[in-house]
C-alpha cells in the first residue's frame, strides 16, 4: 500500500531544478517545473544510466546531462525518436510540503 511520506518543502527544490532522495535501493529525483508542478522519477536515464536530476528542466521534461535524451517527467518515457522508460513515483504537494508515495518496502530499506 502506498504510504505518503514527507520528503521536502516545495522551496527546497529550485524552480526548473531537481533534488535527489538517496535510498538504499534507488535514487529518486524530484523535479520542480516553472509552474511549481513536482514530479518524481528514478534518477537514472534509460539510455546509459545518466543522473537525470542533473539535467536541464524545461516544460515538463528533462534533458539528460550525459547524451541529451529528453525524458517526459510525468510518464517517464523518452521523447522524440528515442525509446525507453524510467520508473515514476506518485508525488503530491500540500501546504508547501512535498510527499512521495513510497511502498512499505521502500521505506524499510531507507
Amino acid at each position: 500500500m502506498a504510504n505518503w511520506t514527507e520528503i521536502a518543502k516545495l522551496e527546497d527544490i529550485p524552480k526548473l531544478g531537481a533534488r535527489v532522495l538517496k535510498m538504499d535501493s534507488v535514487d529518486i529525483a524530484l523535479f520542480r517545473t516553472a509552474t511549481d508542478e513536482v514530479f518524481a522519477i528514478k534518477d537514472q536515464c534509460p539510455h546509459k544510466q545518466g543522473p537525470l536530476s542533473q539535467g536541464i528542466v524545461h516544460g515538463s521534461s528533462v534533458t539528460c546531462p550525459l547524451h541529451n535524451w529528453k525524458i517526459d517527467l510525468a510518464s517517464g518515457e523518452a521523447l522524440g525518436p528515442d525509446e525507453g522508460c524510467v520508473n515514476t513515483y506518485e508525488v503530491k504537494v500540500e501546504n508547501g510540503n512535498v510527499y512521495l508515495a513510497l511502498s512499505a518496502d521502500d521505506v524499510a530499506v531507507a
Partner: protein
C-alpha cells in the same frame, strides 16, 4: 467548434505543412485532405530510385494511412477536386464529395510538360511524375525494348537511367547541344554525357521533335530535319509546369504559378498555397528543398502565430543517378567581371568550378567529387568572404571526416559498414536506412533518429553529404540562417543583436521579446541565452544556475558514473613543493580514487561524489587554490614552457608572461572552452600554435597567433601580428578574448568562428583599429571584476548548498 482546414494535394508540400502545423497546434483545425493519387503521401523525389529498382513503393512512403487516422485527419484519396466555391467556402471533388473550409491550403504541385506535337496522346507516350508513371514504365520495360526519352535535363536523365537499369535501350533526345544546361556548364555537361554514354545511354543532341508516329501504339519519333528513330516507349521528361488550373478557375491570381506573398497567402486571404504550384517573388520552384521552408511559414500562419516569413530559397541540385556524382548550385555560368576558379583532372574524372564575385561564392559546379558541395553551398548562402582561403578552397573543407576516417572523403564510396560517427558508433548503412525509412530531410532529423553527429559534431560534414546524396535535391539545406534551436526562428546573430539593441536583460524577457515557442526554452537555448546575457551585461545580469549545464552548475566535470572531477588552477602550470604537498594531503584525506596530470599542466582529482565537493573545495581554498574552470565554457589554461629563466634557447620569460595572462583572464566565461599558451622561442614547446590564442616569444618581441585548435580537428593558428612588449600582449589577448566573447555564437570555438568571420575581419578589429582594441580591452577588464570570484570557495561557504545536498526522508 474547431475551424476547418482543407488541403488539396496529398503530396510532400501539403503534408509537410500539416506536419509542421500539428507540431505547433495539434488541435486547432479539423483537417480534410484531398489527393488525386490512390496512395498516402510518398516521397516524390524517390521516384527515380523506384524506377531504377533501388527502392520499393513501401520504401518511399512518408505518411501511410495510419498517420492520417492517428492525427484525426479525413483523407479522401483518389479523389480529384474539380471546383473551389470561394463564396460558400467549399471544395467539390469529381465524385461529388464536398468539404467546407475556413482555411484552404493549395498544394496541387505541378504537371509534366507535354510538348504539343502530333501523336503525343498515343499509347506508350508517358510522363515521369507519379507512381503510376513508374508502373507504366516498368510494364513497358518488361514487354518492349526501345525507349526514347525526350528531354536531357534532370528529369529526363533520371528517367532514362531508370529505364536503362530495367534493361531497355534508351536514347535521350535533347533540343539543345548540352545536357542539363540549367544546372551545368559545358565542361561538366560533356563529362556527364561521356560518363552516361559509357554506361550505354545514347544521345541525339540538338534534335527537335516534330511528331510521334505509330499506328495506335507509338512506333517512333520523327524530327524536324526529317530523320526518324524507332521507339516502343516515349517518355516526356522535358519539364514541369505548376498545376494552377483549379486556382485559375476559382479566380485566384495566377501567373506561372499561383501567386503568393511572403506568408504564402494567395490573393484570397483564406487560401494559402505551397510547393511547386506556388509562385513566390516571381519564382515557381521545381525542386523539393524550398517546400520545407514554405511549409514552416504556411504552418506558422495557419496556426495564427503570424511571425514567420518566407524570403525565397537558394537551391542546389544533385543528379540521382547511382555512381555519378554531380552537384550544382547558384550562378554557375560566370557573368562579366566574375572570377572563376577551376580544378580539372581528366584522368581522375573530376571537375570543380566556383564562380566568385566580390570574394563570395556565387555558384558551383562539381563533377566526380561532390563531397564539398554542401560546404560551397553553405558559403554561398551565408555570403562568407573566401578571401582568406581562396588558394585552397577547391581542395575542400579540411575538417570533413576526421573521426577515425582519415582522409577518406568520398563518402558515397564507403561501404555500408563504414563507421561515420565515431562517438555513437553509427555506420553509413544505418544512416542511409534511417533517412529512407523515416523520411528524414534535415540534419536535425538524422541526429535525432540515429545520433550520428550529435555528440562532438566532427562528422557533421559526412552526415550532410550522406543526406544530400540520399535524398538528392530534397535535402533541406535551404534555410539562409540556422535557428538557434527548435524554440525559435531566430539565429544566434539575431538573438545577440536583439539583446544588445533592446537592452534585454533576463532570459524570460528575451524569450518574450522574441516570441519563443516554448515556455522555458530547452537544454540548447537556455545555456546560450544565459551566456549572452552574462557577456553583455556584466555586473547586472544575475547568473541563472538552472540554465547551465550540470558541469557549470556543479563546478566540476560529471563523469560517466555520476561522480565529479576536481581540477584546481595552477597558474601558468608552475607549481611548488608546498602546493604539491597540499594537493597530496587533500587527495589523501578525501581518498581520491584517481589523481592524474592533465594535458594543460595541472592536476586532476577524479571520482569525487557530488556531496563531497564543497568539502574538498574548502580544503583547497584554505591551501590557496581557486577553481581551474576545467568544466566550463571558460578560460581553461595558459600553458607555458620554462622560457628564458632556465632554457638555453628561451628568448623571453614565457612562464612569467603566462602566469600574468592567466591572472588576467581566469574566471571569464566564454562561448566555448578557451585556451592560451606562451612559448619561449619558435621551437614552441608550449604548442602555442594550436591554442585559441598563442604567444610565441622571439628575440625582438612576441608573435601573436589566433584560432588554433588541438581537439576534434587540429587547426593551426593564423598569425595575427607581432608586438614588442608584454603590455601589448596583455592588451591584444584581452581585446581578442572580448571580441570572441561578444561576437561568437555560443558553443562556437575560436577556429570555426575565425573561419566564419574571416581573419581579415579580426585583424581589422584587433590590429588596425587601435581605439577599438583599447575599448575591447577595457570592456574585458571591466567584466573581469565580476568574474574573478572563486566559485569553489563560495560554495564551500554555503552558496547553493541545495545543489550538493541530497534530500532526506523527514522525521
Amino acid at each position: 467548434m474547431k475551424e476547418k482546414l482543407v488541403l488539396i494535394g496529398n503530396g510532400m508540400a501539403g503534408v509537410r505543412t500539416l506536419e509542421e502545423l500539428l507540431k505547433i497546434t495539434p488541435d486547432h483545425y479539423d483537417i480534410t485532405v484531398f489527393g488525386a493519387e490512390p496512395y498516402g503521401n510518398y516521397n516524390r523525389i524517390m521516384l527515380s530510385p523506384l524506377l531504377a529498382g533501388e527502392k520499393t513503393v513501401d520504401d518511399i512512403m512518408l505518411n501511410g494511412e495510419q498517420w492520417y487516422i492517428d492525427n484525426g485527419i479525413t483523407l479522401h484519396k483518389g479523389k480529384t477536386v474539380t471546383q473551389i466555391d470561394r463564396v460558400n467556402r467549399k471544395v467539390i471533388a469529381d465524385d461529388g464529395t464536398t468539404a467546407h473550409y475556413d482555411r484552404l491550403l493549395l498544394a496541387t504541385g505541378s504537371n509534366p510538360f507535354v510538348i504539343p506535337v502530333p501523336g503525343k496522346d498515343k499509347v506508350g507516350v508517358i510522363a515521369f511524375r507519379d507512381i503510376q508513371d513508374v508502373y507504366n514504365m516498368l510494364t513497358a520495360a518488361r514487354d518492349y525494348k526501345k525507349a526514347v526519352v525526350i528531354g536531357g535535363g534532370l528529369l529526363g536523365l533520371e528517367a532514362a537511367n531508370g529505364l536503362m537499369k530495367q534493361g531497355m535501350d534508351v536514347t535521350v533526345v535533347h533540343l539543345l547541344d548540352s545536357l542539363m544546361e540549367r544546372q551545368l556548364d559545358k565542361v561538366a555537361s560533356a563529362l556527364l554525357k561521356a560518363s552516361l554514354e559509357e554506361r550505354g545511354m545514347q544521345f541525339l543532341m540538338e534534335a527537335a521533335t516534330q511528331e510521334i508516329i505509330g499506328n495506335g501504339r507509338v512506333q517512333g519519333v520523327r524530327f524536324k530535319d526529317g530523320s526518324e528513330i524507332k521507339a516502343d516507349l516515349v517518355v516526356m521528361g522535358v519539364g514541369i509546369v505548376p498545376n494552377t488550373a483549379l486556382a485559375q478557375d476559382a479566380g485566384l491570381h495566377c501567373e506561372r504559378g499561383i501567386v503568393v506573398d511572403d506568408v504564402m497567402q494567395t490573393f484570397d486571404p483564406r487560401i494559402y498555397a505551397v510547393g511547386e504550384c506556388a509562385q513566390h517573388r516571381g519564382i515557381a520552384y521545381g525542386l523539393v528543398a524550398p517546400l520545407f521552408e514554405q511549409g514552416k511559414v504556411a504552418a506558422n500562419q495557419l496556426a495564427k502565430l503570424g511571425y514567420a516569413h518566407y524570403k525565397g530559397s537558394v537551391t542546389s541540385t544533385k543528379l540521382k543517378v547511382t555512381g555519378i556524382d554531380l552537384f550544382s548550385a547558384g550562378e554557375f555560368n560566370q557573368a562579366e567581371g566574375d572570377e572563376v576558379i577551376v580544378l580539372q583532372d581528366a584522368a581522375a574524372g573530376t571537375y570543380k568550378k566556383l564562380v566568385i564575385r566580390d570574394d563570395c561564392v556565387k555558384g558551383a559546379v562539381l563533377y566526380g567529387d561532390t563531397i564539398d558541395g554542401t560546404w560551397y553551398f553553405q558559403l554561398m548562402r551565408e555570403g562568407t568572404s573566401i578571401a582568406d582561403f581562396r588558394k585552397t578552397i577547391l581542395f575542400g573543407q579540411h575538417d570533413l571526416g576526421d573521426a577515425g576516417h582519415g582522409d577518406e572523403t568520398r563518402v558515397m564510396a564507403l561501404s555500408d559498414e563504414a563507421e561515420i560517427c565515431g562517438c555513437n558508433g553509427v555506420c553509413k548503412g544505418d544512416i542511409i536506412q534511417a533517412i529512407s525509412r523515416e523520411g528524414l530531410f534535415t540534419l536535425d532529423d538524422v541526429r535525432a533518429y540515429t545520433k550520428a553527429s550529435s555528440s562532438c559534431g566532427s562528422c557533421t560534414g559526412l552526415v550532410e553529404a550522406l543526406l544530400a546524396s540520399t535524398v538528392g535535391e530534397g535535402y533541406d539545406a535551404s534555410p539562409n540562417k540556422k535557428p538557434m534551436c527548435k524554440c525559435t526562428e531566430y539565429s544566434h546573430d539575431e538573438v545577440i543583436a536583439a539583446i544588445k539593441e533592446n537592452e534585454l536583460k533576463t532570459i524570460p524577457v528575451v524569450r518574450d521579446f522574441l516570441n519563443w515557442e516554448t515556455p522555458d526554452g530547452c537544454a540548447a537555448c537556455r545555456p546560450a541565452l544565459n551566456y549572452y546575457l552574462l557577456a553583455y551585461w556584466p555586473g547586472e545580469y544575475q547568473d541563472d544556475a538552472q540554465s547551465r549545464f550540470i558541469n557549470e552548475r556543479a563546478h566540476g566535470n560529471i563523469q560517466k558514473d555520476g561522480t565529479y572531477s576536481v581540477i584546481p588552477r595552477i597558474f601558468g602550470g608552475e607549481t611548488s613543493a608546498e602546493q604539491l604537498m597540499s594537493l597530496g594531503r587533500i587527495a589523501k584525506k578525501w581518498k581520491v580514487p584517481t589523481v592524474k596530470f592533465t594535458g594543460g599542466q595541472r592536476i586532476d582529482m577524479l571520482g569525487l561524489k557530488k556531496d563531497e565537493l564543497p568539502g574538498i573545495w574548502g580544503d583547497l581554498a584554505d591551501a590557496g587554490f581557486v577553481s581551474g574552470h576545467a568544466y566550463g565554457k571558460a578560460l581553461r589554461t595558459v600553458k607555458t614552457c620554462v622560457g628564458s629563466e632556465w632554457c638555453r634557447f628561451g628568448t623571453q620569460d614565457s612562464t612569467a608572461l603566462g602566469i600574468k595572462l592567466e591572472e588576467m583572464t581566469w574566471g571569464s566565461w566564454m562561448p566555448h572552452k578557451y585556451k592560451l599558451a606562451v612559448s619561449g622561442c619558435p621551437r614552441n614547446c608550449a604548442e602555442a600554435t594550436i591554442k585559441d590564442f598563442g604567444v610565441v616569444c622571439v628575440d625582438s618581441g612576441y608573435e601573436l597567433h589566433v584560432g588554433g585548435n588541438g581537439g576534434i580537428k587540429v587547426r593551426v593558428t593564423d598569425f595575427l601580428c607581432k608586438v614588442e612588449t608584454e603590455e601589448e600582449v596583455m592588451e591584444y589577448v584581452g581585446a581578442f578574448s572580448q571580441l570572441y566573447r561578444e561576437e561568437a555564437h555560443y558553443l562556437e570555438r575560436t577556429a570555426p568562428w575565425l573561419e566564419r568571420v574571416s581573419l581579415s575581419y579580426i585583424k581589422e578589429r584587433i590590429v588596425e583599429d587601435e581605439d577599438g582594441r583599447k575599448a575591447l580591452y577595457e570592456r574585458f577588464k571591466y567584466s573581469q571584476q565580476f568574474a574573478q570570484t572563486d566559485p569553489w570557495k563560495a560554495r564551500a561557504e554555503g552558496v547553493e548548498a541545495h545543489e550538493f545536498t541530497p534530500l532526506q526522508i523527514q522525521g
